[in-house]
């Protein structure tokens, strides 16, 4: 209960005018854009992080629950206080704090709307990829909390792929920063876990976004169909043809009718469905791509394809799509929107069955779908003023989720679980899965005060774990019955019973990785887990055992002209995809394709109690539950033994071509800055020493820039890039085609790996010169670079280099240098003697490591897995 005293205290923290407790004030914050309603006890509007922190501490003292909220456009009841708690409205956090297009990031407050940041970025030729249809009104804090999607995520991935770091107020009121402009800090992927946590882990007070330069050109098309199945069919065929449009959006007749009634956008009123398709990229080759799409559509009973002639026509086509939800409001006072997601090839079937469900319950249904992602938005029309309709519509919504899960899909692709879909989590997760997720939540928020009683279904006895049960609908292949898994479970249980510790190994390639284990460990191997559990080439995903080597996987995929878009450094032919998932490793092409965290769709792992736990699924958009897949990815075997992983695949590029130039470091660096904020899209930008004088920091460097994709586009980009580089005083060394799987730097990495110490340092691109200087300036370090092996990964802001020696003082001072540049350090390899004495993840303790240890202790209380290997040991 909110007391008078508590209100007075809040007033002293945020000021009287920023506290709302009147009955109107409460009513105004009792709703969001969903159907859930609940009265908060009190609402506050803090001005800064300190005020949020103090308010949280005050609420803790009183035992009051807390819900953070932006502009209240949530679609699953996520921003409603259902326990009459404190609502913290972050609408005053509305500043864009900085934009750094050359390092491809921006720092914003969470109350800035998605559109505001897009406009600010557009002014410097950049954009932020996630573009939820609500982007004009939804705030970035909410986008992060829900892991929002949007039309563009077909090509660029969801919000989680584009959040680099954040400042947040923890459940106890302490302020913590995680991540930042430098990619992939050591340890668990906390920011990946935070994104999509629906306000249940911490309150985000600042965000670092990953931005991209605008593309050269865009073509938007409207394909008109007389049959919705034909439209859905076209979507499948387009992707199967290896084309990746930005967006593939579908609307059905009812939505067309509503949209045309509110803003005539030129959707034919007599059509059964329309697709809004957009391709973007270099001008060269784009028209051909659009033509190819048109051909596929026409071959699939399309009535006609209209291409937007100018910006105005393009805007109009999009206005209709973006306003579809609102336009539906013309037809009825309320709608229930679902966001179930299936594999795109079963989309026609799913839509058919949804129609049956709607008819059965007596509701009109309109469909807007991110068809390319298989993400549906059936809108059920009703009037909540009619008695019983609200209950009936919820029942229909439930049935729609069942349809999706029965077809192997998930219950929520982007709107979140909140309160509306909480119970439906049981359709796809087991009791153990859900208890594990709740354990992670409680590791962040032990008193369960942040947005409590949402997302995870509640147990019959309050505060207790859920009983054990299997998912009510979803049958996951593999899992406990997959090859090699029963034996591993046996080993893990036995170790647990006897109090021993374990280390998970694959091909034993990375035995030297991480801090050494504190006690004697026995190993448990994944090598028997070599099955391909499910390979769906049409839908571009594969589920396979952790013991298969990456090299073998790429061979398998070659048969369908597909590949896993990764060239992890230091991987030999035997290294397994289990290691890849566990380490989350990525090479210089991360700047273009992303890291394992971006294309792992789901995992199964054995936890410290020997139970099989499932995370994610096999659809490309999935926000059902907390993002355990990202927590496990890169957790280095500290939380469990990954037995199988589901990966998102891509069509192989037609051509991989690199251009190289030579010059001094400053010129290479300046060229890299230019390339980063240019509408060229290199797969990587790397500099390696050109000459090699022992004991000296290399004076001349070879800058290598690669492009991958359609031949025509790659050729054009190489040409433009060559021009740009030569303008930056670099001397052209020529171009060449490189092998897809091995890439360009295998030898360079191998050379680095030969040294006793391999150092990886990271910072935003603009800070890399400082970082390099930092490495050089460390007393005595210069003389120790005999190997003189360096790889400057400009595109990802990373430096890999070889060292012969490293002492405590050097390690500490280097770490501090990196931290002061908002970067981080990690030793990928050291002699065992060094590792015994030092933490290879950094020369001093980082505050966020404490959170990692809380998670580790919660999920693996007896330190069964690799004790002592983590950052901060």
């Amino acid at each position: 209960m909110v007391t008078e005293n508590f209100i007075r205290e809040l007033e002293t923290i945020v000021g009287q005018s920023n506290v709302s407790v009147t009955s109107t004030g409460i009513e105004l914050y009792s709703y969001d854009a969903s159907l859930v309603k609940g009265n908060p006890g009190v609402v506050i509007f803090p001005a800064d992080t300190q005020e949020v922190s103090q308010a949280v501490k005050a609420a803790n003292k009183e035992g009051i629950d807390i819900v953070a909220r932006g502009f209240g456009t949530n679609l699953s009841g996520g921003t409603i206080s259902i326990t009459q708690g404190l609502v913290i409205c972050l609408s005053r956090f509305n500043q864009i704090l900085g934009i750094f297009p050359e390092s491809r990031y921006a720092v914003v407050q969470p109350g800035v709307t998605n559109m505001e940041v897009q406009q600010a970025l557009a002014a410097v030729g950049a954009f932020y990829a996630p573009d939820p249809a609500s982007q004009k009104v939804s705030t970035l804090g909410g986008n992060a909390g829900e892991n929002s999607g949007g039309p563009l995520c077909l090509k660029y991935g969801v919000t989680s792929n584009h959040i680099l770091g954040m400042e947040m107020v923890m459940a106890d009121g302490e302020v913590l920063r995680i991540g930042g402009p430098a990619l992939d800090p050591p340890g668990f992927d906390l920011r990946g876990l935070m994104v999509g946590s629906e306000g249940a882990f911490a309150i985000i007070t600042e965000l670092t976004l990953h931005t991209l330069p605008k593309t050269e050109s865009v073509i938007t098309m409207l394909a008109v169909y007389d049959d919705i199945q034909a439209a859905a069919q076209s979507v499948s065929k387009i992707i199967a043809a290896g084309i990746l449009p930005n967006t593939l959006e579908m609307m059905d007749a009812l939505v067309i009718e509503a949209v045309e009634a509110s803003i005539p956008c030129g959707y034919p009123r007599d059509a059964a469905a329309v697709l809004v398709i957009e391709v973007e990229g270099m001008e060269v080759g784009l028209k051909e791509q659009a033509g190819q799409i048109k051909e596929i559509c026409m071959a699939n009973q399309c009535r006609n394809v209209k291409i937007a002639k100018n910006e105005k026509e393009r805007d109009l086509l999009w206005q209709g799509r973006r306003g579809a939800f609102g336009a539906i409001a013309r037809l009825a006072p309320n709608y229930l929107v679902n966001d179930a997601t299936v594999s795109r090839s079963v989309l026609p079937k799913a839509l058919e069955q949804i129609k049956v469900v709607a008819d059965k319950h007596g509701f009109r249904v309109g469909n807007v779908s991110h068809a390319g992602d298989g993400n549906m938005h059936p809108l059920l029309l009703f009037d909540s003023r009619n008695p019983g309709e609200l209950d009936r519509v919820h029942k229909a919504g439930w049935d729609i989720m069942e349809v999706s899960v029965n077809l192997g899909g998930t219950i929520s692709g982007e709107h979140g679980i909140g309160q509306e879909k909480q119970e439906a989590m049981k359709m796809i997760f087991s009791g153990d899965d859900l208890n594990t997720q709740q354990t992670v939540k409680l590791a962040f928020d032990p008193e369960n005060v942040l947005n409590p009683n949402k997302v995870i279904p509640l147990s019959k006895s309050p505060g207790q774990p859920l009983e054990s049960f299997k998912p009510t609908i979803l049958k996951r292949l593999g899992g406990i019955s997959a090859k090699g898994v029963p034996e591993a479970i046996e080993t893990i249980r036995a170790a647990n019973d006897s109090g021993k510790s374990l280390i998970v190994v694959g091909a034993n390639t990375f035995a030297h990785y991480g801090n050494p284990c504190k006690k004697d460990v026995t190993s448990v191997s994944t090598l028997a887990m070599t099955e391909i559990i499910e390979y769906d080439a049409d839908n571009q995903f594969i589920t396979l055992g952790a013991g298969m080597s990456l090299a073998r996987l790429q061979e398998v995929l070659e048969e369908n002209n597909q590949w896993l878009t990764l060239r992890p450094p230091f991987f030999n032919r035997k290294a397994t995809i289990g290691s890849l998932a566990a380490m989350g490793t990525s090479g210089p092409e991360r700047m273009f394709y992303g890291a394992p965290r971006d294309f792992l769709l789901g995992l199964q792992y054995i936890d410290s109690q020997g139970r099989m736990i499932s995370t994610g699924g096999k659809v490309v958009k999935n926000v059902a539950g907390y993002d355990m897949t990202r927590l496990m990815t890169g957790s280095n075997g500290n939380l469990g033994m990954i037995t199988e992983a589901t990966w998102r695949l891509s069509t192989r590029p037609e051509l991989c071509r690199a251009i190289s130039m030579t010059g001094i470091l400053d010129d290479c660096f300046n060229a890299a800055l230019k390339l980063m904020n240019n509408n060229l899209f290199p797969a990587f930008m790397v500099a390696v020493p050109e000459n090699n004088v022992p004991d000296q920091f290399p004076e001349y460097w070879k800058m290598v820039v690669g492009f991958e994709g359609l031949s025509k586009v790659v050729e054009h980009q190489v040409e433009k890039c060559s021009l740009l580089l030569s303008k930056n005083k670099l001397k052209n060394l020529g171009t060449w085609n490189y092998p897809l799987i091995d890439g360009c730097f295998k030898d360079d990495f191998n050379k680095i790996a030969k040294a006793p110490y391999v150092l990886k340092t990271s910072a935003a691109l603009e800070k890399m010169p400082d970082l390099i200087k930092g490495i050089q300036e460390i007393p005595g370090i210069k003389a120790q670079t005999n190997q003189n092996a360096w790889l400057l990964d400009f595109g990802c802001g990373r430096i890999f280099n070889a060292l012969d020696l490293l002492d405590t003082e050097q390690w500490t001072s280097l770490s501090h240098r990196a931290y002061s540049l908002d970067g981080h350090v990690q030793l990928e390899k050291t002699p065992k003697s060094f590792r015994l004495e030092h933490d290879v993840f950094g020369g001093s303790l980082r505050p966020e490591w404490a959170v990692m240890h809380k998670i580790k202790n919660a999920l693996d209380p007896n330190s069964l897995f690799a004790p002592g290997r983590m950052p901060g040991r």
């Binding site: 969001d32 609408s91 009104v137 939800f325 409001a329 013309r330």
Partner: protein, 420 residues
């Protein structure tokens, strides 16, 4: 008044939140009470008995500018600004009204002469400071604390009304056949008289006769305040006066008046008789901007090139759908470079007497407008509503801009730019 009658329209809001994009008040406060979705939720709460009629509702109902931008952004087209007026009307009934509004709507606005007298008193007071005079008269207590802050909004008040110089009656024009009635809005009558003079020049050039009407206030201020009775009385007084004249067209150079004159029939929702009268007269009314656009006017070329931008009054762009006409007129003037400003159709925060009652909020809205004006570096900021002119002039002074605010009539006749 009973908002229950509008339950369907109110329930049509499905809380998508898109109104937040375009609401100048929400953009300033970030508070749900200051946006259509919130106002509608409260009215629905009243209807469904979760919320009671209390003073708590004053802010959410009365801090709406009535600019209508939310309805533009609303795909379900919920007419929130109109619904808010209904809400205000019921509020006045159930919670009570302030004495100043009684005085204004019932005693001053229906009677041009009394308004003139009041204005003259204010003009005299202005020299010694409005707030001091108001304080002495105990008016501050009645008007509310914001009135003292607002006193500088009007820079100078003429001592004589427009109709003191140009007495109502028929004047000869140089046109061939058109019989024009010139509707004098209170703003032109009392403050923006220079604009009125230029409008009159234009009308005389086009019309065979121009009749300066002895109209009273159009009723819009009373209507937006929720005083439906007062609005009806004013409307009826005007309609009766017009019906005794034989005119081809009634032109006003106030876009707010024009939009309200055109929708007089809505004022008489339950009164078919007067509704019919209003409907029959509706085709007569024209905004000066559309009149100029239809009839053309040979514009005087400006001496040296100037940059001009325009502000769309809410009652022009959303009230009457006028946004192309003003731009076309300006672009055709030789020597004028027209530069579009961002958010030209956003409310300036003037909203009639809004600045008097909600000074701080009004200034936040105005500051946003001035940032947009400044970005154009325009010499002139042109509009067609005297109330906007007052607010915008205050804005450019506050922001220290060199941009001058003027009425479109003044640019067209060449009165602005003033000859150095």
């Amino acid at each position: 008044m009973d908002i229950f009658k509008n339950y369907d329209a109110i329930a049509q809001c499905n809380k998508c939140g898109f109104c937040q994009v375009s609401c100048p008040i929400f953009r300033s406060t970030g508070h749900e009470s200051g946006v259509a979705r919130g106002r509608l939720a409260l009215m629905r709460g009243i209807i469904e008995d979760r919320i009671q009629w209390t003073k708590e509702l004053e802010d959410p109902l009365f801090n709406c500018l009535g600019c209508g931008a939310c309805t533009d952004a609303c795909l379900a087209d919920v007419p929130t600004a109109d619904l808010v007026i209904k809400g205000r009307a019921e509020y006045l009934e159930k919670v009570g009204r302030k004495p100043i509004h009684k005085l204004l709507f019932e005693q001053l606005l229906p009677y041009p002469k009394r308004l003139h007298m009041a204005a003259r008193a204010a003009a005299l007071g202005k020299n010694s400071g409005i707030s001091k005079v108001a304080k002495a008269l105990g008016l501050l207590r009645i008007l509310g604390r914001d009135f003292a802050k607002a006193e500088n909004i009007v820079e100078k008040l003429p001592t004589k009304p427009f109709r003191g110089t140009f007495t109502p009656g028929e004047y000869q024009g140089s046109g061939e056949s058109l019989r024009i009635g010139y509707f004098i809005g209170c703003g032109v009558d009392v403050i923006q008289q220079e604009a009125g003079q230029e409008s009159l020049k234009i009308l005389k050039k086009i019309g065979k006769t121009v009749t300066i009407l002895d109209n009273c206030c159009c009723g819009l201020p009373a209507w937006t305040y929720g005083d439906i009775d007062a609005a009806q009385k004013l409307a009826l007084k005007n309609l009766t006066a017009f019906s005794s004249q034989s005119l081809d067209v009634i032109v006003t150079d106030c876009s707010s008046c024009a939009s309200f004159l055109k929708k007089y029939s809505q004022v008489f929702e339950d009164d078919e008789n007067n509704q019919d009268i209003a409907k029959s007269q509706a085709p007569l009314f024209q905004d000066m901007v559309e009149f100029l656009f239809k009839n053309g006017y040979s514009t005087t070329p400006v001496k040296s090139p100037i940059v001009v931008t325009c502000h769309d009054p809410c009652h022009a762009v959303r009230g009457q759908g006028i946004s192309r006409e003003n731009r076309e007129i300006l672009k055709k003037i030789p020597g004028v470079e027209f530069r579009e400003m961002p958010e030209a159709d956003w409310c300036c925060g003037g909203a009639g007497s809004y600045a008097l009652t909600h000074y701080d909020l009004s200034m936040k809205v105005l500051d946003r407008k001035m940032k947009n004006v400044a970005s154009t570096k325009a010499d002139f900021l042109v509009t067609s509503c005297p109330a906007c002119m007052i607010q915008l002039s205050h804005g450019v002074r506050r922001a220290g801009l060199k941009t001058k605010v003027c009425h479109i009539s003044e640019i067209v006749t060449g009165a602005k730019p003033e000859k150095e």
